[in-house]
């Protein structure tokens, strides 16, 4: 039984000046899977991530998400389709409270141009926001100013914001960057839990992290697909090992 792919990338090229960040990449992603995109630095992982999430428009080729052609679609519309992403560099609303950060993500359709309702009276939304924060372990810090929290906490907040969007697909760009081993473990556990309910596509450069949790691993190198297989197959792949030699962390 093969469902329609949730994401599809067809013959995508991304070129900056004379340099090709992605060369003729074609991939399809099935719903419900946890896919990891790995590769050494400069392989094109971030570029691919940005093409998938819609923040970079490809020089050539097309991108489809949830049945829609998103190649030229503005970023905010892509989010509304059900695609949530996290940023490589922590990106929250620093001067606002943790709770407000999540509530903004939650405001979604219908509330965006509400100029009249008092936010403080929106009990249902506040409760839902706290629920999401409980999921990432930040429910005891809802009044904290986001910018004053530790790096790991801010990453968790970002995850909460992504979840608050109730996405069908979650795109995560190096979610454990800059985290301690303990924080990394917590984050990976969280991701596995989330992947049970939705499609997750993960970009990482630490191969070890993703081996145990992924349904599928895609290895990029110099803007092209080097390997595309289940974890066992990737582990056995000599090409991959050669490329990663000395870069495994």
């Amino acid at each position: 039984m093969s469902a329609a792919p949730i994401f599809e990338v067809k013959n995508v090229w991304v070129q900056f000046g004379g340099f090709s960040a992605l060369s003729d990449v074609s991939l399809a992603f099935q719903p419900g899977q946890l896919t990891s995109i790995i590769g050494p630095n400069g392989a094109g992982k971030s570029t691919f991530f940005n093409v998938l999430s819609g923040s970079i428009k490809p020089t050539a080729g097309s991108v489809f998400a949830l049945g829609h052609d998103i190649t030229r679609m503005p970023q905010h519309k892509i989010t509304r389709l059900g695609v949530a992403k996290s940023f490589q560099i922590t990106s929250v609303f620093p001067q606002l409270s943790v709770l407000d950060n999540v509530r903004i993500a939650m405001q979604g359709a219908g509330r965006r141009f509400d100029l009249w309702t008092k936010r403080d009276s929106m009990i249902e939304q506040i409760d839902k926001a706290i629920e999401v924060l409980e999921r990432v372990g930040l429910a005891d810090r809802i009044e904290r100013t986001a910018g004053t929290m530790a790096h790991g906490e801010q990453r968790a907040l970002e995850m909460a914001m992504a979840l608050a969007l109730q996405p069908k697909a979650l795109l995560l760009d190096e979610p454990t960057a800059g985290m301690s081993p303990e924080e990394t473990r917590d984050m990976m556990d969280l991701i596995v839990g989330l992947a049970a309910e939705r499609t997750v596509i993960l970009v990482e450069h630490k191969m070890k992290l993703v081996m145990g949790i992924s349904d599928r691993i895609i290895v990029l190198h110099h803007g092209e697909i080097l390997a595309d297989d289940k974890p066992a197959g990737i582990r056995a792949n000599s090409e991959v090992r050669r490329v990663y030699l000395g870069e495994e962390s």
Binding site: H76, W116, L165
Partner: protein, 325 residues
């Protein structure tokens, strides 16, 4: 034990007051009438305070620095004045026409500038504001051009059930205050709404807001129009206040002044713009009696604020009160 209870109650006094900030603001502004040396200055202060409030909706809350808000102040003033001079409109209708004129202007200009980011935005708004000024200047058959619009006969405001005598400075002050109070209530409501927090989110991290599914351009356009409406109301009230509209209220000098007032008060605060307007205008009143070089003081004030005192007077005060509670 005493220390903890004392702390607990001081948290509540600050929060309690903060929750009633609109009422307190209106009271403070009403009291201004008795603090200011003469009524016209008090009226001027609350008008410019309103103007600065409109400017700060963009600057402090959304993070957009516009150097062209005087265009909407001017459209409000001319719209109101022209409808009285050439159309014989009653005061209340004239005010409404002024606000609507400003809204049209802001909608049009907003659509042009909203794609410009940050520093580019400041430049483009200044230039477009100057464009409005040039148009109003050249249309001298209606606007009076260089001489300004004269003879705005606004002696009575008819509310139906009662009349306000606008020739009496005290009654005029309270008439203006009524509209300022209305604006304060509406702005407070706006800031407390989902849209209000969206504005702050745009200021904090526009890319993030877009990634959360918001059309940031549309939001910015809307707040630009709302700001224009507030600035337009201030301008319309100004026309009633002075009974003339001088042409130089539309140029970028005035736009800059209102940015300065917001900064002086504190752009991160709700009431800062009014504090800034009060300090600035009262300072001008005093300093101008001693020297004709007030502009130098203005320039140095700008520089000093930016370099040493970016939080402004009210902003610094609030921060201290908050940390103590």
């Amino acid at each position: 034990m005493t220390a903890i209870t004392a702390q607990a109650s001081s948290t509540s006094w600050f929060t309690l007051l903060a929750r009633r900030r609109v009422a307190l603001a209106i009271l403070a502004l009403a009291a201004l009438l008795f603090v200011a040396p003469y009524e016209a200055l008090a009226t001027n202060i609350i008008i410019y305070g309103l103007f600065a409030l409109g400017c700060n909706l963009l600057l402090g809350y959304t993070g957009l620095l516009s150097f062209g808000q005087a265009a909407f102040f001017g459209l409000g003033a001319y719209g109101c004045g022209l409808s009285i001079v050439h159309g014989g409109a009653p005061v209340l209708v004239a005010l409404a026409i002024g606000v609507v004129s400003a809204i049209f202007g802001a909608a049009l200009i907003g659509a042009m500038v909203i794609r410009s980011r940050g520093i580019y935005f400041a430049m483009v708004t200044l230039a477009l504001g100057q464009c409005v000024s040039a148009i109003l200047y050249e249309a001298d058959f209606w606007t009076g051009g260089e001489n300004g619009l004269r003879g705005i006969a606004a002696s009575v405001a008819n509310f139906g059930v009662f009349k306000v005598n606008l020739v009496d400075p005290t009654q005029k002050f309270f008439f203006v205050l009524a509209f300022v109070a209305l604006a304060l209530i509406l702005v407070e409501r706006l800031l407390a709404s989902p849209f209000g927090i969206t504005l702050e989110a745009i200021r904090e991290n526009e890319k993030r807001v877009i990634a959360c599914g918001y059309d940031a351009q549309a939001t910015k356009w809307l707040v630009f129009v709302l700001s224009g409406a507030i600035c337009g109301l201030a301008g319309a009230l100004y026309a009633i206040h002075l009974s003339i509209v001088p042409i130089d209220i539309v140029n970028y000098h005035n736009s800059g002044l209102v940015v300065m007032m917001s900064l002086l008060g504190g752009i991160n605060t709700f009431f800062g713009p009014f504090i800034g307007a009060a300090i600035f205008l009262m300072l001008e009143d005093v300093v101008s009696k001693f020297t004709s070089h007030w502009q130098l003081v203005v320039g140095l004030l700008f520089i000093a604020l930016v370099l040493f005192f970016p939080r402004g007077v009210w902003g610094t005060l609030l921060a201290r009160m908050r940390s103590r509670s």
